[in-house]
Amino acid sequence: MAIYLQTIANGLMLGALYACLAVGFSLVWGVLNVINMLHGSFIILGGYLTYFAWHYYGIHPIVMLPVVALLMFALGFVLQRGAINRVVSAPVLTTLTLTFGLDMILYNLMTYWFTATPRRITLDLGAANLGPVVLPVDRLLGTGLALLLTFLLYAVMRGSNIGRAIVAVRMDRTAAELMGIRTDRIYAITFGIGTLMAGAAGVVFALVFPITTNVSGTWLGKAFVVCVVGGLGSVPGALVGGLVLGLVESFAGFWFGPQNAITAGFVLMLVLLLTRPTGLMGVKGYE
């Protein structure tokens, strides 16, 4: 029994992190129609910023969260304005190729500056016990932050004028312009928010995982899976997708061995793709 509870807890904690990782990716994909191959590297970059602030200046990662978020927003905004905006209405393959190229540059810069050595923030906060279930404090913290960030984004998307404008631009660019919405700015803001979420996920991840450039592909892959499982462009979808993926991997790892955990996630994704291409949350827009 205890082991099942533990497996559920592991899955949920992992799942919240997955959700946090995917939500920005999903947003950019849904709104800009851009599959952002940079997303994994953005997460790593956020992690490195956090690590170096902690390592050299002793700044606590939580304090870095807003700083990294702001910096990453600026980076995303500028990148969209300067580069991605030029091909924003091109077909999938073109935008994907562009972000793939940009990612090669960013990746190279990061390996050059930071090397591939895995770094880790050694806060080692210990663990809390909830009955027989062990909850590592940093994962709990990460989970909390991930949920908070996801919720904040949801609130913004749902309740604010900007949120409405983002959906409007996504659905019909010209009609949005007629509402007085500056679409190019909304695009840049959306990409900025996507990047911000990636950076924030990087901060959260820095608490939990070692940081190294060569996992950027892994994170990107997870973002894909979560998006498909949950549904594209939807904040609650990313949350549900993340949690489901976390649980599936956790139970598959427990029942079939870790070797098959990741496979189970992919199988889940393929099955969903074929049966429910809109994902679990059957999204029609942002809720």
Partner: protein, 312 residues
Amino acid sequence: MKPLAQYAAIIVGLVLLGTTPLYADNYILRTAATVAMYGALATSWNFIGGFTGYPSFSTAAFFGLGAYVGTICQRNGIPMGVAWTIATVSVAAFAALLGGIILRLRGHYFAIGSIAIVELCRLIVSSWSDLTGGGDGLNVPLIHASPDAVTRLFLFVMLGILAASLVVTIIVDRSRLGFGLRCIHQNEDAAAMVGINTTAYKIAAYTLSAVFCATVGAAYASWTGYIDPTDSFQIVMTVKVAVMAILGGAGTVVGPALGAAAFVLLEEVFWANFIDWNRAILGVVIVLLIFFLPGGLLSLRARLRRASGGAA
């Protein structure tokens, strides 16, 4: 491009690559073989990605499966050529089956579905250790011949596959199938409405996009002598092949092969000269190409013509 110009370009290209043994060393030969290999992969991708407009990222899956099937056959004593044939046929059958399932997806969803296939293949091959050696990889019996002979052999094998893929491309381009695929690319609903069996056509395109990849994969495995899951099922390769095709001009006959040649040569130059920065430089090249040459290298001709026409 006019058909005659196309044939001429293909023949010139194949001859250029095929005559390297007359004057160049094995390294150049190997590069030529790599050009041919990626040329064949990009030309294959073109059936589904270029003609049909489905952003497929399954290339590495077909390549890797071809490599594994070929290797496993060879290790069980089947002669090399036969092993390659078995790999080709079985992967094609697999692609046809798979196509029936994932071609129901469109656009972005198809893109992810097809990329997931690569990961899934890698994971399954990794876990199925009894057959595939898992993470240990598999050794392929080395060919016992002089290095020069081996390099030549594989150069001509890759060139042969490239030539075959181009011939099939030309045939498809001029046939009912090619016409139908183009219609699907433009508007799938309308294509169905004029009587095109879109499912069958798409499966045909997807299968064609797998066939030569499998042969290339099997041949490649025999060439290197060792394969493992990470190297055989690379996401980077799958994206790279699509980028090559776009670079040359997706949906054209010679564009993808041309793009592959340009990409491989660029990579070679950057690798040799900028060890620390080769990846970034390649990234910059891709970005610039997307900005300034979105229609691929072949569109350059049209542009130049327009420019000179405008001046006159």
